[in-house]
């Protein structure tokens, strides 16, 4: 075989030699294709595996950690939450609507394949600045695609986050997280076992869509990548809705041994992974696979990434039942093979053997790379920059108005308005809160959901930045009154073959791991997306964190806005933030540099616990974490109906108003309960600063008794709410 063949499929020469060794003979083209996708970064995690091993993955709440299609955490009452996040960055860069839509479709299949009914979707998005037309095109296409799929299938999209930064121009990030609910006995697994059990494909027919998508996700975007694509996958949410109902019915009827969605690398990866988990072999007869097009080769059938398909192994004798259920939902089911006990993936076409590979060669024997890491040159240089003597640029009022009109900080309503966030009638806290909250019917409980990652922090200090992403998620969960439970992640980085990128990856993961350990939120699963580069320039490292929290009693949900006059406003935490890595510095000084403030995870944990404890006592009226834009912006976010008057004392107005430092939460409480709060904080040794009082229709900030900011709500709320709409030239 010519080296060109395997190289084009993304295999290195050493990898090809390894295949020769494993097979003891030359592979045919189909076999090379199968190896290529199974050994792609996307399917094999060959580069990330050694690093991911360091994540804490256990805890009393974890019912299923990494390794299955999605993680599962227990929420009591025999119920569990299933959740996972996944990227669809490259497909979305090429065809934003379909790329994002199929991203949602794919992650939802990961959830219902576990036996859970999906109850929510979140979307974590990163784009280049909206000053560029192409980024607007990508944003509107991606948002329409997420809505197009989620709205139609009827799963509410309840949250997410969006940042705009030039490093994402040309390489947007589209990470979708899905969450489902199940009863413990319904947990299903992606496993093929029991010799002779039939193997069936159910759902959509197989076409020539997205062949080599998995490989494609594992290369940098270039001019040629478009040409490499055989056909863009098109999502069919209607089909998936039917497929979902049918699958849940089959799982409820206990008709299946195993079930797995066909995602990247389609039939190949689903069959191989299921057989791998079951220590079995699998035999497939390709002529039995229902097809959408004629003349498809075995290669195309095995590698097609047609959407809305699942591979199932029913219990022997229950094929008819599977077929009946699928037919009732207007879908097809076909037996295409059987489980064997010889540990081989055997592929036949019309009875003729076309491929035979030991399953283990594709899974366990996949190469693992320990890539070299090297601290990038920028790191120390940027870290050494100090901004202590920087002066406020213009008046506080001008800066304030500029910051809240920045799309990264401004309201994301233009986006989430396009998502049905209420279908299912379980959404208690809608998008716009710190975390979304869904009620669990039949209980008093709710779950809180959020996604977070400030990649500028990660760029400046990958270790701290990774930890901070987890911290921010935990704070958002706590601010609605929920206890952080566990996380899923989606690790978006550049080309890991570059030592500087691998260093970012390694450091960021270490930070994530440490924060998860201290905060008690194990990693239950996730996804790695490398090669996020355009023309050699990498995105800012973006380890997206999706967190789930539990709220025992829905009557204790906390809002993030003032709801009455005279609420006493306090800050939990330090009054002063830093300018390093802040939105202020980026936007007003056009600099992204500096040393991030030191991070004490134990202290963060204590503050979160303190906040939750206060909330249990029922004395808090609102809570909101201070993130991008600092104290002034956080206050603007809390003043929706009622304004506030705040008094700040000390030095360095700039750092106090606009500096950033995670671990700070603004709370409000009635005047009557204020002494109790002050006493508890003192006892617990938690820094607490009285800021002022809610009321009126302006946001007024006094600095050392002098008014430095006094803006009517009627002036800044519209700027905050319409910032994105204005740039997209359309009404929110």
């Amino acid at each position: 075989m010519e080296p060109r063949v395997w190289r084009e499929m993304g295999l290195t020469d050493e990898e090809y030699n390894r295949i020769l060794e494993l097979l003891g003979r030359e592979p045919n083209i189909l076999e090379v294709g199968i190896f290529a996708v199974m050994w792609s970064e996307h399917c094999s995690y060959k580069t990330s595996k050694p690093i991911l091993k360091k994540f804490p993955t256990e805890g009393p709440q974890v019912l299923q950690g990494p390794g299955e299609n999605a993680g599962i955490v227990d929420i009591g009452d025999n119920l569990a939450v299933v959740f996972k996040m996944e990227s669809h960055n490259h497909p979305s860069a090429i065809e934003p609507y379909q790329g994002a839509a199929t991203g949602v479709g794919g992650i939802l299949r990961d959830i219902f394949t576990m036996g859970a009914r999906p109850i929510a979707v979140l979307d974590a998005l990163r784009f280049g600045p909206l000053e560029e037309e192409h980024n607007k095109y990508l944003l509107s296409g991606v948002v329409a695609g997420i809505g197009g799929y989620g709205n139609s299938i009827g799963i509410p999209t309840v949250g997410g986050d969006v940042y705009f930064h030039k490093s994402y121009s040309g390489n947007p990030l589209v990470n979708a997280m899905a969450v489902g609910l199940l009863r413990h006995e319904n947990i299903a697994k992606g496993v093929a076992k029991g010799e002779g059990n039939p193997v069936m494909v159910i759902g959509a027919r197989t076409g020539r869509d997205g062949i080599h998508g998995a490989t494609f996700a594992s290369v940098e975007l270039s001019e040629e990548s478009e040409a490499k694509r055989s056909a863009v996958q098109v999502g069919d949410p209607f089909m998936e809705k039917l497929l979902m109902e049918a699958c849940l019915e089959l799982i409820e009827a206990d008709a299946l041994v195993g079930i797995q969605d066909m995602g990247a690398a389609g039939l190949t990866s689903s069959a191989v992974e299921m057989a791998g988990r079951g220590n079995s072999g699998i035999e497939l007869e390709l002529s039995l696979v229902p097809r959408r097009e004629t003349g498809m080769t075995p290669y195309e059938i095995m590698l097609s990434e047609s959407q809305e398909r699942m591979l199932v192994v029913p219990k022997a004798g229950r094929e008819k039942e599977v077929e009946e259920v699928l037919n009732r939902w207007g879908l097809e089911a076909a037996v295409i093979g059987r489980v064997t006990n010889d540990g081989l993936l055997r592929v036949l076409e019309d009875g003729k053997l076309v491929a035979e590979i030991p399953v283990k060669a594709l899974t366990e024997e996949a190469p693992v790379y320990y890539r070299p890491a090297a601290e990038p040159a920028y790191y120390q240089e940027l870290k050494s920059k100090c901004f202590d003597s920087l002066e406020l640029k213009g008046t506080a009022e001008e800066v304030f108005l500029a910051l809240i009109s920045n799309p990264t900080i401004a309201s994301k309503e233009w986006i989430y308005r396009q998502y049905d966030h209420q279908v299912g009638t379980n959404t208690v806290v809608l998008p716009g809160g710190d975390a979304a909250v869904l009620r669990i019917r039949g209980t008093k409980k709710g779950i809180a959901l959020t996604t977070d990652c400030n990649s500028r922090y990660v760029y400046l200090d990958p270790y701290l930045g990774g930890a901070l992403a987890v911290v921010e998620a935990a704070q958002n969960i706590a601010c609605v009154g929920a206890k952080p439970l566990a996380i899923t992640d989606c690790l978006n980085f550049g080309n890991p073959e570059k030592p500087e990128i691998f260093w970012q990856f390694e450091q960021a993961c270490a930070g994530v791991a440490e924060a998860c350990r201290v905060l008690g939120t194990p990693v239950t699963g996730g996804n790695v997306s490398f090669y996020n580069e355009t023309s050699g320039a990498a995105i800012y490292p973006t380890p997206m964190i999706g967190m789930v929290g539990l709220i025992e009693d829905l009557s204790q949900i906390l809002g993030n806005t003032f709801r009455s006059e005279g609420e006493q406003i306090y800050l939990l935490g330090e009054l002063e933030g830093e300018l390093s890595g802040s939105e202020y510095l980026a936007q007003l000084e056009n600099m992204e540099a500096g040393k991030l403030p030191e991070l004490d995870l134990q202290e963060i944990k204590r503050r979160i616990d303190f906040l939750l404890e206060l909330n249990k006592q029922g004395i808090l009226l609102s809570a909101h974490d201070v993130s991008e834009g600092g104290l002034a912006v956080a206050l603007a976010e809390m003043t929706v109906k009622y304004g506030a008057t705040v008094n700040i004392k000390g030095s360095n107005q700039l750092k106090k108003l606009f500096g950033e430092r995670l671990g700070r939460i603004i709370i409000s409480i009635s005047a009557q309960n204020a002494p109790k709060l002050e006493a508890s904080a003192k006892d617990a040794g938690i820094p607490l600063v009285h800021l002022g009082e809610s009321g009126g229709n302006t946001l007024k900030v006094m600095f050392n008794e002098t008014c430095c900011l006094n803006v009517p709500l009627a002036t800044y709320r519209p700027l905050f709410e319409q910032a994105i709409a204005n740039r997209m030239n359309s009404k929110a």
Partner: protein, 79 residues
Amino acid sequence: MKAKVIVTLKKSILDPQGSAVERSLKTMGYPVDSVRIGKFMEVTLAEANKAKAEEVMDEICRKLLANPVIEDYFFELEG
């Protein structure tokens, strides 16, 4: 000058709309083999010169009316 534009999904691209219509026509008992759905557009141009109009239309189709990643287009000028 007027242009009629037809935009269709490329052959290999899945057409969920068309398939759904196809299935329901079949269920309703019509002798239908397949349905594919695309777009039809009428564009009135402020350009009297045919050759120029042709050029403009081709550019418009490529840039905006069709998505070359998944669609083909075809147009015809009139009048």
